[in-house]
Amino acid sequence: MNALARRAAGLLLGTLCLPLAAFAADVQPTHEFILDNGLKVVVREDHRAPVVVSQIWYKVGSSYETPGQTGLSHALEHMMFKGSAKIGPGEASRILRDLGAEENAFTSDDYTAYYQVLARDRLPVALELEADRLASLRLPADEFSREIEVIKEERRLRTDDQPNAKAFELFRAMAYPASGYHTPTIGWMADLERMKVEELRHWYESWYAPNNATLVVVGDVKPDEVKALAQKYFGSIPKRAVPPSKLPLELAEPGQRLLTLHLRTQLPSLIYGFNVPALATAKDPRSVNALRLISALLDGGYSARMPARLERGQELVAGASSSYNAFTRGDSLFMISATPNVQKQKTLAEVEKGIWQLLDELKTTPPTAEELERVRAQVIAGLVYDRDSISSQATTIGQLETVGLSWKLIDSELDDLKRVTPEDIQAAARTYFTRERLSVAHVLPEESAHE
């Protein structure tokens, strides 16, 4: 799993990975340009090793899907490996494998992305293959009939047989009453059962246009050579109108919702989610940055409040975490989850009380200067550490661009967070940590169902 997963898991510091001149030895030059057909290209130089990562990001994902057609974006991602004008089904993977490349793809609610990591002299192959499937995907029906079975296996493996993943899928469906974020990225099984290859063709033709994509290249390259290659392989693909896409907006205060699930699990657990804005939807970015700091104060390290107090001090939980993804296309959730310490006979009710104590304290008491300084130190170091991975750098750029923000946001990262005052943090806690914004899931072992 890539850095995005960890980012989505809410480490504040996961969000930004580009360097600040003040702290890094040399800033790696970053360039952007747009081809005539609308394809945006971002190139970031990293000359430490003769390798390169190429990622193409499409602005389409499960939040764009409609009821009855869930899972289309992810299924199309699978079918993108099944041949295009110049190559047969599966052949691109074989070609890249033989070149020693790492390649794969991922789909989320906001995007679908494809990547290759390879020795720098092989970059033209990656770009030619990527351009070919953008221009001329085959979508053979017989390949689809087998691939949909693979996707169903994937759903069984990752969701249906995983109680926590299943609980989270249902939780999201409840916590996002108004937006496409209630749709699971892999799709509901009933929709997979009735999916047709014609729907995939329509989805492909609707969204896979150069003007709906961002190409990100990071590594041992110069912008001129990438520009020439991009022009050579992508330049002739015509621009196409894409359907209007609306930001996934949520109800601000939908009211408290409670989901009780009895699943095949040994341990009870708890999920909390507050409906909150993200950077792309907030009127005031400071409140969003305050929420990011709150997530760091709660769970930004082993010294943060949740591990220090709930896990160790009160021994209320066996584990707990908070997460907040501010870099979504639409409104977001501030998430908390926890497993009670059953060895100490702690209950879900006690855990909820402990969590509310932490949240209420944020409303009434400003964080100490030392706490904020620790968060800042981690941000500064994290900006340097993230430069050790070319993939992590590319992913940050691609994600920001695809959710409607600019990759240049990373340059202001530290300043944006420093601008947040203790009063902003209290105000954000008071505004957002309310019952009216809260969804709760109680995930319980099956036995309790028969009591």
């Binding site: 850095a3 995005l4 997963a5 960890r6 980012r7 510091l13 969000t15 890094a24 430490r48 090793a49 003769p50 390798v51 047969g88 599966g90 052949e91 993977s93 074989r94 494998r97 033989d98 070149l99 020693g100 991922f106 789909t107 989320s108 990591v117 020795a119 720098r120 192959v125 030619e128 087998r146 079975e149 296996e153 994937e154 047989d161 995983q162 926590n164 609980a167 989270f168 899928e169 990225t185 892999i186 699990t265 040994q266 341990l267 082993y302 010294s303 220090a308 896990e311 160790r312 066996a318 584990g319 989850s337 497993t339 310490n341 060895q343 170091a381 340097v384 550490y385 993230d386 050790d388």
Partner: protein, 497 residues
């Protein structure tokens, strides 16, 4: 933030929902394979890729590593690569202190490792965490079957580096092992065991190691068991730390923005802070297990299938041949025989992989997959047939050539980041491999013939020696769907439908 989440040692695999969740939200394809199947003929499908035709066929250039090596006064071996590009460094100290040194108390090694950062003189666990995090430093620890690891990633500026190293040295060398922390961590481990009971893959893996290794220490899970953990005492932890975290039992790997002199000073400081003592002896070699299949009933939709035999130790001269042979069978994500036959041609699984895990003594060879329960018997037979056919006939020349090309092409990726380099230095030091090991491995692999790969696979594996574990529901079985392409000659003993 690439590595930040890794070091926290609080959860022991007690996955917190949000993490599970975030992962589920990004559905990556694990792999794809080639629908051409085994390229029995030399002819390649005629693609029209201009860029591919223009590649000159030479192996790509790669970053040259100058690995420096020395031994500290107390006997710790040090490997160092200077990398000045980023103002940071990685330190990774590896001890032969994994669960194979538990001495009949499963979980002792894990508990000792997990307790390192719970207390030092004058600091409790939270003060230690505040110390590292206030410097922006990442402390990490982990314990496995052979090795236990403690790691530090820090900015290289001396006002960050020096206090981080001082704290790291105390944590690894002079932990105080507070009683209350031991109780808490035991409870977390016990919660983790409960949590694992919902995971059919975990159940299968534990049973497989138990069946494969019998009385050998590799048979026990590294984290111990619900029976073994409660009785472990502080005195046992202190004794284990005194011998297993000794300088003579340690390998110190360093990569980053440091001069040789700074690296020597760091290694000397860490080494001097450790208990005095020599390297621990390797565990005995395991004895051959009894082949056979164990089924465990579990109410899942899929059945998990694991097939294994004893493999090799890390110093086995056949490692390059087996590694290449396995890469063709099921080792890479893409286009392996297993992926091609099981996923691409029949849609039976999301992923199927085979792996040799060479360890201090013979580690396992394993094949791992999941499929819908009603097809599990047919799928298991298919996998066994693929393995038997591969052992009988070996790879084709085309497969071998492709695998060599893949290996050469991926070499530059293997030392592109500080994180990947420090991991390699740790392994080279821990398994006493020559400093030229990476280059040697490449050269030996490129020189292998089809016959040599086939002979090595057959020397170490046999189709009738498999130890098999299946976990899933008992349901009426159905025949497998027909494969997609119709090869002129059926290469496997696959039933026709």
């Amino acid at each position: 933030m690439s590595d930040r989440s890794a070091p926290r040692y609080t959860l022991f695999g007690l996955a917190i929902i949000v993490l599970v969740v975030a992962i589920a939200a990004l559905l990556a394809r694990p792999a794809q394979s080639d629908s051409q199947g085994k390229a029995d003929t030399a002819a390649r499908p005629a693609n029209t890729l201009q860029s591919l035709a223009e590649l000159d066929g030479k192996a790509p250039s790669r970053r040259q590593l100058n690995i420096q090596h020395w031994t500290t006064a107390e006997g710790a071996r040090v490997l160092f690569v200077e990398a000045r590009e980023l103002p940071m460094f990685d330190l990774r100290v590896t001890f032969a202190a994994g669960s194979s040194q538990d001495g009949g108390t499963p979980g002792l090694a894990t508990l000792t490792n997990a307790m390192l950062n719970e207390g030092v003189a004058g600091k409790d666990v939270t003060a230690i965490a505040e110390g590292f995090e206030g410097l922006g430093a990442d402390f990490g620890n982990g314990s496995y079957r052979d090795m236990a690891v403690a790691s530090l990633r820090s900015l290289s500026a001396s006002d960050k580096r020096e206090p981080a190293l001082k704290l790291f040295t105390e944590v690894v060398g002079q932990p105080t092992f507070p009683e209350d922390a031991l109780k808490r961590i035991k409870n977390q481990l016990l919660a983790g065991f409960e949590y694992e009971k919902q995971n059919p893959g975990k159940i299968a893996g534990k049973t497989l190691f138990a069946n494969l290794y019998g009385q050998h220490p590799y048979a026990s899970p590294s984290d111990g068991t619900a029976e073994s953990i409660p009785g472990i005492t502080l005195a046992q932890l202190r004794t284990f730390h005194g011998k297993a975290y000794a300088a003579g039992n340690a390998v110190i790997a360093l990569v980053g923005d440091l001069s040789r002199g700074e690296a020597e000073a760091i290694a000397a400081q860490v080494s001097a802070g450790l208990p005095k003592g020599a390297a621990l002896a390797k565990p005995e070699q395991p004895v051959e297990p009894k082949p056979g299949t164990t089924h465990i009933d579990f109410p899942s939709k899929q059945t998990h299938l694991m097939l294994a035999e004893l493999g090799i130790d890390r110093n086995d001269a056949d490692w390059p041949a087996l590694s290449l042979g396995n890469q063709i069978l099921g080792g890479g994500a893409f286009g392996t025989r297993l992926m091609s036959e099981v996923r691409e041609k029949r849609g039976l699984t999301y992923g199927v992989y085979s792996v040799f895990s060479p360890m201090q003594v013979r580690g396992p060879f394993m094949i791992n997959l999941q499929t819908r329960a009603e097809l599990s018997e047919g799928t298991l037979k298919l996998v066994q047939d693929i393995l038997a056919d591969y052992l009988k006939n070996g790879p084709t020349q085309q497969e071998l050539d492709d695998a060599k090309r893949e290996l050469a092409g991926s070499f530059p990726l293997s030392n592109a980041s500080n994180a990947s380099i420090v991991g390699q230095l740790g392994a080279i030091g821990f398994y006493n491999l020559p400093l030229s090991w990476l280059e040697d491995f490449m050269q030996q692999s490129q020189a292998l013939s089809v016959e040599q790969v086939k002979a090595a696979m057959n020397k170490h594996l046999a189709a009738d020696k498999l130890v098999i574990v299946t976990v899933g529901p008992k349901v009426a079985q159905q025949p497998l769907p027909a494969p997609t392409d119709k090869p002129a000659e059926q290469p496997l003993g696959v039933p026709e439908h």
